[in-house]
C-alpha cells in the first residue's frame, strides 16, 4: 500500500518478541505465522486461537443521519438492524463494482462499521463523497482501538472468565458492551472469519497487550495458540468465506460471488443500485468450490477449463488442513458449475484435474444434542 513505513498495531512488538514472522499486509506490519500455519489452523478448529486483527478499519457514525448515510453507501438494508445487532454488507461504486465488504454494528443510535485494512481509505472516501447534506459525523477509530479475535470450540471458555457479561447472551452476529479484566471497556461481538464459534473484541489500543496476554493465560489449559494471517486465510477459505481482492473486487459482481443476499435492491435507490439491478439479471459467472486430485495448490489467477475450453479463473487456492486436500474457489461459467463437474486447472503450466464440490468446504459440526432425561 501507499505507506512507506507500514503501520504497526498495538501488539506489534509482542508479535516480534514471540516469533511472529512479520510481513507487510495492506500497509500494516502483521504476523503471517508464529509456528506453523497448519498448527495454528488446527488450534482454531480443535481448541482455540487468538488473532490480532487491529489492522481492520473501525469507523464510528454519530448523528441523526447516520442510518440513512450508511444505507445509501452500503448495499444491505441497515434499517433492519435492531440494537446490538451486526449485519454483513457491501459497498459498491456507481458501476456496481465493489469497494469493500463490511460489518455494520448498530448501537442505540450510533453505528459502527468494520472494513478491510486494505480498503479503509477507499471506504472513508466513499462516505465523504456521499456526505452532502448528511447530518452525521464519521470518526476513524482504527488507531485509537485494537481488535482481537478469539476463535474456536474453547473460545467461550477462554473469554468468559475475563468478561463481566454473560457471553451466552450474545447471539450470532450480535454484540454487547462490558468490561474485560475488571476495567477495560470492550465491545464483544459473536462474529469471526474462521467458521468456528468465536468472538471479536474492540478495546482501547493501550490495553491491547494486557488483554492479549490475559487471553493467552486463560486459554492455556485449552491449548490456545496465537495465530497469524496465514491461518486466518486458510480458516476463512475452508469456511467458504470471501476475501476482498480474491472473491470480491471492483470487477466481480456480488451476484457472481454468491453474495446477492447482501444486496437489497428493494430498499430503494442507493449508490450502485442501478448497475446492481442489471447485474442481478445476468451475473455471468458463479462461485464454486474445486477439489484437486493432486497436492499442488491452484493459486489465484490459475485458469480453469472444461473439454479444452476456458470456463473460469481461480480466486483463492489453498491446502486445507482439515480435509487434507488442495482446494480452490473459482468464478466459472454457470454451465460448468454443477457439483461433480470435472475440470482441469492450469497450475503454473501443468494441468491438474479437479472436481466441482459444494461450498463451504468445511462446516462446523453442530454440538451433539443433550442426552434425553430418562
Amino acid at each position: 500500500m501507499a505507506e512507506a513505513t507500514p503501520l504497526k498495531t498495538p501488539l506489534h512488538d509482542w508479535h516480534q518478541a514471540h516469533g511472529g514472522r512479520m510481513i507487510d499486509f495492506a500497509g500494516w506490519s502483521m504476523p503471517v505465522q508464529y509456528t506453523s500455519i497448519v498448527k495454528e489452523h488446527q488450534a482454531v478448529r480443535n481448541q482455540v486461537g487468538l488473532f490480532d486483527i487491529s489492522h481492520m478499519g473501525r469507523l464510528s457514525f454519530e448523528g441523526a443521519g447516520a442510518l440513512d448515510w450508511i444505507n445509501n453507501v452500503c448495499t444491505n438494508d441497515a434499517s433492519k438492524l435492531t440494537a446490538n445487532q451486526i449485519q454483513y454488507s457491501l459497498m459498491a461504486n456507481d458501476l456496481g463494482g465493489l469497494i469493500d465488504d463490511v460489518l455494520v454494528y448498530r448501537g442505540g443510535k450510533t453505528y459502527d462499521l468494520v472494513c478491510n485494512a486494505s480498503n479503509r481509505e477507499a471506504v472513508i472516501k466513499q462516505f465523504e463523497e456521499h456526505a452532502a447534506g448528511v447530518k452525521a459525523k464519521l470518526t476513524d477509530r482504527t488507531l485509537a482501538t485494537a481488535m482481537i479475535a478469539v476463535q474456536g470450540p474453547s473460545a467461550t471458555a477462554t473469554l468468559q472468565p475475563l468478561y463481566d457479561q454473560p457471553l451466552d447472551a450474545i447471539k450470532y452476529y450480535h454484540f454487547g458492551n462490558g468490561k474485560l479484566l475488571g476495567d477495560v471497556p470492550a465491545t464483544v461481538s459473536r462474529t469471526g472469519y474462521t467458521g468456528e464459534v468465536g468472538y471479536e473484541l474492540i478495546i482501547p489500543a493501550e490495553q491491547a497487550v494486557r488483554v492479549w496476554e490475559a487471553l493467552l493465560k486463560s486459554g492455556e489449559g485449552f491449548g490456545i495458540l496465537p495465530c497469524g494471517l496465514g491461518a486466518r486465510d486458510t480458516l476463512r477459505f475452508e469456511a467458504g468465506m470471501p476475501l476482498y481482492g480474491h472473491e470480491l473486487s471492483d470487477t466481480i459482481s456480488p451476484f457472481a460471488a454468491g453474495l446477492g443476499w447482501a444486496v437489497k435492491l428493494e430498499k430503494g435507490d442507493f449508490v450502485g443500485s442501478d448497475a446492481l439491478r442489471q447485474q442481478e439479471e445476468s451475473p455471468g459467472s458463479t462461485r464454486v468450490g474445486l477439489k484437486l486430485e493432486g497436492k499442488r495448490i491452484a493459486r489465484q489467477g490459475s485458469t480453469v477449463s472444461k473439454d479444452g475450453r476456458f470456463v473460469g479463473t481461480v480466486t483463492s487456492g489453498a491446502f486445507s488442513p482439515t480435509l487434507n486436500a488442495s482446494l480452490a474457489m473459482a468464478l466459472i461459467d454457470p454451465e460448468a458449475a454443477a457439483e461433480g463437474t470435472s475440470v482441469v486447472i492450469d497450475v503454473r503450466g501443468k494441468e491438474e484435474p479437479a472436481t466441482v464440490v459444494p461450498l463451504p468446504f468445511y462446516k462446523r459440526p453442530k454440538a451433539a444434542p443433550a442426552a434425553p432425561q430418562v
Partner: protein, 127 residues
Amino acid sequence: MDPSTLRFAPTHEWVALDGTTATVGLSKFAVDQLTDLLTIELPNVGDRVTAAKSLGEVESVKSVNDVYAPLSGEVIEVNDALADNVQLLSEEPYGKGWLVKIKVDDPAELDKLMDHAAYETKIAEEH
C-alpha cells in the same frame, strides 16, 4: 552430512562435492522459513541444470518457491523418496532430505559458493 563441511548458494541450496558429483539440498534455515511443506517438483535424471537457474520448486501452505541449481551440470540422481514424503526435507535437510545429484561441468564453480560460516553470517544479517 555435517553442514560445516558444505558450501551454500545465496538462494539457500547446499552442495557437497565429491570429485565431479555434487549432492544438492536445501539449508535448514530455508526449510524452517518455508514450514508446512506440501510438494516438491524436481528435474528428471538426464536433465541439464544451470547455476543460479531454477531446477525445481518447493511448495508450502504459504507459497511456491524456486529451487536453484548451485552448480551447472547434468542430473544423475533424484531423491524420489521426497515425492512420497516431502517431510523428509524438514526432518533431515542435510541427510535424507537431499534433492538431486549433479555431475558438474566445472568443479571450480564451487569456489563461488559460500562456506558455512559465511552463509551463517549472511542469514544473520538479513533476518
